[in-house]
Amino acid sequence: MQELRDLAKKLLLDKQVNAILGYEWDRRGARPAFITEAGDCDRLVFDHRCVQNLAAYLSPRRANIAQLGRLAVVIKACDARAVAGLIRENQLKREDLVLIGVRCGGVVVNPSDSEQLNAENIAPRCVGCEQREPTLADHLVGETQSAPVGKANRDLRLSEIEKLNPEERLSLWTSLLSQCTRCYACRQVCPMCFCERCIADKTQPAWIESSPHSRGNFSWHLTRALHLAGRCVDCGECERACPAGIPLGLLNHKVARIVASRYGYAVSDDPSRETPIGSYRLDDEQEFIA
């Protein structure tokens, strides 16, 4: 932790950056912190309760943050994939940012969860995560971490759902999605949802019905999942932010598996790697046209 604080202090004092975007303690665990004074750097922390993906603050649409000028951001490996995504999709320039990578051995689901990380409370998305540290970072801090161990298994859950027949599957998702109130917290918290005008807000024509009705809910969540195909960084923020408790991570995970099997692609923190949704290949499979 001291390593992180010293680095942050140095970056501010050397005027390399105007602000540090990191985490601090709060009465409900960890929360994002914007540090602009070197003296405040001792507030910075990092451990398994720092679940938030701070890349969500980097969208150029967030004008109040853009006003701060050059930033240093504390990123975990999954957050780095979001930063890479934003660079890849021309929302950020790599040289405008200082990235402080932190080594991570998994996080809990909510920042207010237990002070001890164990197999019971670890976020399901962290189980099987192979990246302990981001490769897209200017500085790397923290101790070496071991691979996270946990009981949750999203693949098992997905294969259970896949075993259901289409009617059962439809009724399962209908009941899950009927909880949605269309508050769009999933969209607001997602680092990859940076459109100036979301398709859900388009009215001429209104492709997605705006009322929280099952038809509109389905088109919203399926469109969102497809727009994140090959782009979702699996930071889990949408599911954490959802007040209705909809397992949105499952949808994203399913799509990620399809992208992996069809295009051999996994989201990486290498901004130069092209994504399936943003590339044109003559040899793409098109057996569905037949």
């Binding site: 021309n90 929302q91 940076f194 459109c195 949704i277 044109y280 003559l282």
Partner: protein, 672 residues
């Protein structure tokens, strides 16, 4: 749109047999906004078109739907009719009641229901149509021809004779291509060089042709009518403006033992050389990999190792310090005529799908040669002066076995297509052999004889009947060296017997493949290619010399295996296409292209990455004080082909395709 006219065509019996056209017209007439709805036997006929024109004028229609055949067939016809009656042509749409309905259904009741639905679909769509106007773009009336083989030469001459300037780019130091290597050509047996070299000279002397030999296309920007092409002029090490082609340098070059590419490795050349005496331009080039001076330089030797060529040059044309240079040319059309290479059948191959033929010992048995090598042996200008002699010991072969379809039509070796020219040139080889070695025996192993073409089959018959070539139907499994001879183990499928022949020489008719580097060139031009690298034409029957990139045309064997008559015909076809394009100062384009909404574009540039035509550009938006607001996508009207890939990809739906906007599609889908 509130005053829509609907016109249902019977297409004779084509639609009327399965669809109750009167009922369709009546039913669509009841839709809100439709003020006129009729059916007629032949809507595309003159009286049919008059019906449409009259209705537009009498009922003041502001949109018309023609329920007839595919828009591919008659959209232009009906749009023209609408325009002549004063309606914007893009307010006319077609519902396809023939290919999409009557031709594929049998039940009259159901087909009629479907026809009504299809009509309703378009009626709802047309309510959101906007008048569009034709786009005009200026045309730079000069052409670029890539490749100086017979196809490129023909295309360049035809375009230049048609009165337009041509830039001909050839990557070798001389034009002429593979045809210059051939001895005699089928089916007339006229000497290849005798008919080719006058054309080469014509190219060099034509006032409208700018020949850039020993050059390659580096990059291509722009679009039809307005390409900017950057061309790399490779360093010849000889100043083209000074050299007069006297040949002294070549005579005095001490390094005379370099295998000649022109002679397919059967002869030798010097390090400073012209590939063949009739080269155009007749200016030598230094092969820097073989030249002692450059090899010395590469090793870091300070002393000038050699320099004989420069010493003997009376015009100081040799320039050892010449560097690659670049020129940029603006052209309106590009003809690709890069030709072919022969399938080199050794075991190691650059493509994964190719397997090679280890069992034929090509490259290890010196008297197993390929078709082009045989051409050099038979050529009067070749390394043997036109005598057929074995490469191994210089003896005259008394028995030659020719193998057809080596690589071609052999999916197990990675090539399933027919190379088309081999049946003919093998027959030619047997004749040339017979003419030169009267007591020689030619044996041909073939799969089928494919000799379609004027005088082609007669030619093969002559080889068999007059030149006494023995044709055996079957394949050869192995070639091996047996003392002085080559043991050919094969199978004659007509007699059902295995055959073993002791041959003095074996000639392999290896497959035609596109030139190396074709994929890179295709990518520069945004032209698609098949798994073998042959460039794809826009339509195999109806647009055989065009590509899917407007303004880029194909001639010769870069598109598929072609013989000389085919290549020349194709080249003239491209020339007529190019001259057609250049006949107007402004190019008309259909306005059905993509448009980006500046307000909502986020600048993620997925559209730029998915666009197959490179039509998306980046535009920086600034306020009145020049401060950058954002960088957004913009569509170049000249390049966009209206495929809609960007529209489908844009996550915020900020791209619209005119004529197929979201609103139109949404209304249409809701109407089904």
């Amino acid at each position: 749109m509130s005053r829509i006219g609907v016109f249902i065509c019977h297409c004779g019996e084509n639609i009327g047999r399965t669809v109750d056209c009167a009922r369709v017209a009546q039913s669509l007439g009841d839709l809100p906004g439709v003020v006129h709805s009729v059916d007629y036997k032949y809507m595309c006929s003159d009286p049919g078109q008059v019906l449409i024109k009259q209705a537009i004028q009498e009922k003041n229609l502001d949109g018309i739907v023609v329920g007839a055949c595919s828009p591919h067939m008659h959209e232009k016809t009906f749009r023209k009719a609408a325009a002549s009656a004063g309606l914007n042509p893009f307010l006319c749409e077609m519902a396809n009641l023939r290919e999409h309905c009557s031709w594929i259904h049998e039940d009259r009741e159901l087909a009629t229901e479907k026809a009504i639905a299809l009509g309703r679909f378009i009626v709802e769509k047309i309510k959101y149509n906007r008048p569009l106007s034709t786009i005009y773009i200026p045309v730079e009336r000069r052409a670029l021809v890539i490749g100086g083989g017979i196809a490129g030469i023909q295309a360049a001459l035809d375009i230049a004779d048609g009165g337009r300037d041509v830039i001909l780019v050839e990557k070798e130091s001389s034009i002429g291509g593979h045809m210059s290597q051939l001895s005699e050509t089928f089916p007339t047996l006229d000497c290849s060089q005798c008919i080719l070299t006058p054309r080469m000279v014509e190219v060099a002397q034509h006032p409208r042709i700018k020949l850039l030999a020993y050059s390659e296309v580096e990059s291509v920007d722009g679009y039809i009518g307005n390409f900017q092409v950057k061309i790399r002029r490779k360093a010849r090490s000889v100043d083209e403006t000074k050299c007069n082609g006297c040949g002294e340098c070549q005579k005095n070059c001490p390094n005379k033992k370099i295998p000649s590419e022109f002679d397919q490795g059967l002869g030798t050349r010097t390090a400073i050389y012209v590939p063949f005496p009739q080269a155009v331009p007749n200016i030598p080039v230094i092969d820097r990999a073989s030249c002692a001076l450059f090899r010395g330089r590469a090793k870091g030797v300070k002393k000038v190792v050699c320099g004989k060529c420069a010493e003997v040059c009376g015009r100081n044309a040799v320039d050892f310090d010449q560097q690659d240079s670049f020129v940029t040319e603006k052209v309106g059309a590009i003809v690709v005529a890069t030709g072919y290479q022969l399938y080199s059948i050794g075991k190691s191959q650059e493509l994964d799908i190719l397997r090679g033929y280890g069992e034929y010992g090509y490259g290890t048995i010196p008297d197993v040669i390929d078709g082009l090598q045989f051409e050099r042996l038979a050529s009067a200008s070749g390394p043997t002066g036109g005598k057929i002699l074995r490469p191994s010991d210089g003896k005259e072969p008394k028995k030659i076995v020719f193998l057809q379809c080596i690589g071609s039509r052999d999916p197990a070796k990675g090539i399933e297509y027919c190379s088309k020219i081999c049946c003919m040139y093998v027959a030619k080889h047997t004749m040339l052999y017979h003419h030169k070695v009267h007591d020689g025996k030619a044996v041909v192993f073939y799969m089928d004889i494919r000799a379609g073409g004027k005088g082609y089959d007669e030619f093969v018959r002559r080889a068999i009947e007059e030149s006494h070539a023995l044709y055996l139907r079957g394949r050869v499994s192995r070639l091996s060296r047996d003392g002085d001879v080559i043991r050919v183990q094969g199978f004659d499928t007509l007699s059902g017997e295995p055959v073993v022949i002791n041959a003095d020489m074996v000639v392999l008719a290896t497959a035609m493949r596109p030139q190396p580097g074709i994929a890179a060139l295709a990518q520069k031009l945004s032209v698609s290619y098949d798994q073998h690298g042959f460039l794809n034409e826009a339509h195999p029957k109806l647009r055989p010399v065009e590509t899917n990139t407007a303004g880029v045309f194909l001639a010769g064997a870069c598109q598929s295996p072609r013989d000389i008559p085919d290549s020349v015909a194709m080249a003239s076809a491209t020339a007529s296409k190019v001259l057609g394009l250049f006949s107007k100062e402004l190019l008309e384009r259909e306005p059905l292209i993509a448009r980006v909404d500046r307000m909502t574009c986020t600048g993620c540039f997925h559209c730029e990455r998915v666009c197959p035509y490179g039509a998306v550009e980046r535009k920086t938006l600034t306020d009145s004080k020049g401060r950058i607001i954002k960088v957004i996508a913009e569509v170049n009207q000249g390049v966009c082909q209206g495929c809609g890939t960007c529209q489908a990809t844009c996550p915020s739906k900020s791209v619209e395709l005119d004529g197929f906007t979201d609103e139109q599609i949404y209304a249409a889908v809701n109407a089904i």
